[in-house]
């Protein structure tokens, strides 16, 4: 694993009961890139992501983040990895009993020694980055889906992590809000050099922001294409890839 690689997935196999979802999946994610995991419904995109963030144990293979196998790391090493990554879940994942400010402040209060005043300042800044300044005292239930997603992004970025994971960030959003979120993701990547791993099947987002993609296929239980989506769209050997990227029915 060289300095440019921040995440390595090696021979990952994922099963639910006796059913194989993914088999022997391997790829690298380079530091600072926007890496998209795409594919049709039920191909295992979210499953792959949950293995990468350590929520599921693989049936085989490894996930290595910053040189550490996250599934065999000790508690201290795992905590170091977790505090250096952020996750935006499909539903936002905000704690419903806390205000937006409290949600964003949660990791700051736990893992830093910032004073309450500094935490409030950082929280305001993070919410400002996602255009939610002024909503600090709102509960998640009082916000729209798009606003919850942006608040979830603010919390995921609270500790300025090196890696951000996104699970279907534009699901349920109207095209304008989805485009705004894509722009935010791109700005954060360019501005802070954060590595982004995004699970999505939203073509507009993939073509707008992805540096590199892997495409999963349900029947293949793994990757059938890898590369620049704009090139794959024109030149992929596998028709499933060109059909997907061109929204074509064969």
């Amino acid at each position: 694993m060289n300095d440019k690689t921040i995440i390595r997935v090696e021979g990952l196999t994922a099963r639910y009961g006796g059913i194989t979802i993914l088999e022997n999946v391997s790829f690298d994610v380079a530091r600072g890139e926007i890496f998209v995991i795409m594919g049709g419904s039920g191909c295992g995109k979210s499953t792959l992501l949950k293995h990468m963030i350590g929520l599921y144990e693989p049936a085989g293979g490894r996930v290595i983040i910053n040189g550490i196998d996250i599934h065999s790391a000790d508690e201290e090493a795992l905590l170091a990895i977790r505090t250096n990554m952020g996750v935006l879940f499909q539903s936002g994942g905000l704690l419903g009993s806390m205000t937006l400010a409290e949600n964003v402040a949660l990791p700051l209060g736990e893992y830093t020694d910032l004073s309450p005043a500094m935490i409030a300042l950082v929280v305001g800044m993070k919410l400002g980055m996602v255009k939610l300044r002024g909503y600090e005292r709102h509960l998640p239930s009082e916000l729209s889906g798009g606003m919850q997603k942006r608040a979830g992004l603010a919390r995921a970025m609270a500790l300025d992590p090196a890696i951000l994971f996104f699970d279907e960030p534009s699901a349920g959003l109207d095209p304008v809000i989805a485009a705004e979120l894509d722009a935010m993701i791109k700005n954060i990547n360019e501005g802070m050099g954060t590595t982004m791993v995004i699970v999505t099947h939203a073509l507009e987002s993939i073509l707008a922001i992805a540096h590199r993609v892997v495409m999963l296929d349900k029947e293949a239980h793994g990757i059938i294409a890898e590369g620049d989506p704009r090139i794959l769209r024109q030149q992929a050997d596998d028709m499933r890839v060109t059909d997907f990227l061109n929204r074509r029915i064969s």
Binding site: K50, I53, G54, L55, L78, L79, R82, T83, M85, G86, V87, F89, Q90, S91, G92, G93, L94, L95, G96, L106, P107, E110, Y111, G152, R155, F165
Partner: protein, 379 residues
């Protein structure tokens, strides 16, 4: 060629080489497809063909159900090595046939957990489920003890505002209902026992009976059951809903231990307030007996209280409080455990809530039985 026309929809024409032509007439749709297929099967059973041609030239109407059934028939015949062909389809019939995904005829249904397989398999599956539940419960208990130990060793790691919040929810908010039920139970016990004791002039012993029953058993037991219904279910519902909304996953990926964050405050709060609630319940239970004693048995307040004091010992009160701490741990622990087991949506949250209450009450009674034996020998 032999021709048969006794049916409404099908005319079958056979030849000596074993080929049958089935002329399908009329409507083959949702409302007729069963009768059509019955006639086709009857014709094929009578003939035992080597090749079947289904002629749709006389068909008036075909819907997707009819098309699916005809395709399925062709598939089944081919599986039995009987060649089958659909001929003379109208343009409309062809379009409907093209809409159907013929691959779906051969793909087996995905097995589900709910597939009916017989009583013995169900018993086996249920037994395995009980075993798995027990193992998961033990693992949960181990994690809980570890988290509580860490919290006691490092009190600053405890989320004290949350502990206070749940103490209010489980304790203060429960005062009215616990007081009322205890009062009524005290009244009932006093009244029922007085019916037996009064003929023997043993009115004063009503006070002893009520105090011993309430303090030793009914106070902690009733309080625990009420707390299980109020707070155990609430804990399960809260954590279950968080599971459904990815909130617990979010905590884990942020490096938070869900036990320290969610379970420890609830368990600590319950273990603090339930003993206090039990004492409160004991007082109200005795008060209920006092009301009956004074109003119905001609006892004075002083006599009743004096007799109560003679009947209860410090050991009884202490044992009652120890029991209530254990019950509290069981209630909060089971509630949280059931919450973490939620998978899916609202139905699963509802099931977890019910299971939390039922399981907690069961374990409370089992623990109470164990305490009865242990305390007997300790005393």
């Amino acid at each position: 060629m032999k021709s048969q026309r006794q049916n409404t929809y099908i005319q079958s024409v056979g030849d000596p080489q074993g080929e049958i032509t089935l002329f399908v007439a009329g409507r083959v749709a949702l409302d007729t497809v069963t009768r059509v297929m019955n006639e086709i099967h009857a014709a094929l059973t009578a003939a035992v063909p080597t090749r079947v041609v289904i002629d749709l030239s006389r068909l008036e109407y075909l819907d997707s159900a009819g098309a699916a059934v005809l395709l399925q028939l062709a598939n089944e015949l081919q599986a039995r090595s009987v060649a089958c062909e659909l001929v003379n389809l109208s343009e409309d019939s062809q379009k409907i046939m093209e809409l159907l995904d013929k691959r779906m005829l051969t793909v087996p249904a995905t097995p589900t957990d709910n597939a009916a397989t017989g009583i013995m398999v169900d018993i086996g599956r249920a037994s395995l489920q009980v075993r798995d539940d027990f193992v998961l419960l033990m693992m949960f208990l181990g994690e809980l003890i570890r988290a509580l130990g860490r919290s006691l060793a490092n009190p600053r790691s405890v989320r004290w505002p949350e502990v206070l919040f749940y103490m209010k929810r489980a304790g203060v908010d429960g005062l009215p209902i616990v007081g009322l039920i205890s009062l009524l139970v005290g009244l009932i016990i006093a009244f029922m026992s007085s019916l037996q004791l009064k003929p023997f002039g043993g009115n004063v012993f009503v006070a002893s009976l009520v105090s011993v029953a309430i303090v030793k058993e009914l106070g902690p037991l009733m309080t625990a059951i009420i707390v299980a219904g109020r707070s155990g279910s609430a804990f399960a519902a809260e954590i279950g809903t968080m599971i459904v909304h990815d909130e617990v996953d979010a905590l884990v990926t942020m490096g938070f231990d869900p036990f320290r964050f969610l379970v420890v405050p609830k368990v600590m709060a319950a273990m603090c307030v339930v003993p206090l609630l039990t004492l409160y319940a004991d007082l109200f239970g005795i008060l209920g007996g006092l009301i009956v004693g004074v109003t119905g048995l001609d006892l004075t307040v002083f006599t009743y209280i004096h007799q109560t004091q003679k009947s209860i010992h410090l050991f009884d009160i202490t044992a009652s409080l120890v029991k209530s701490v254990v019950f509290a741990g069981l209630i909060a622990g089971i509630g949280c455990h059931r919450g973490f087991r939620v998978r899916g949506g609202a139905e699963s949250v509802g099931a977890a809530t019910t299971s939390a209450v039922v399981s907690a009450i069961f374990l409370i009674v089992v623990a109470d039985s164990a305490f009865a034996i242990i305390l007997h020998y300790i005393r």
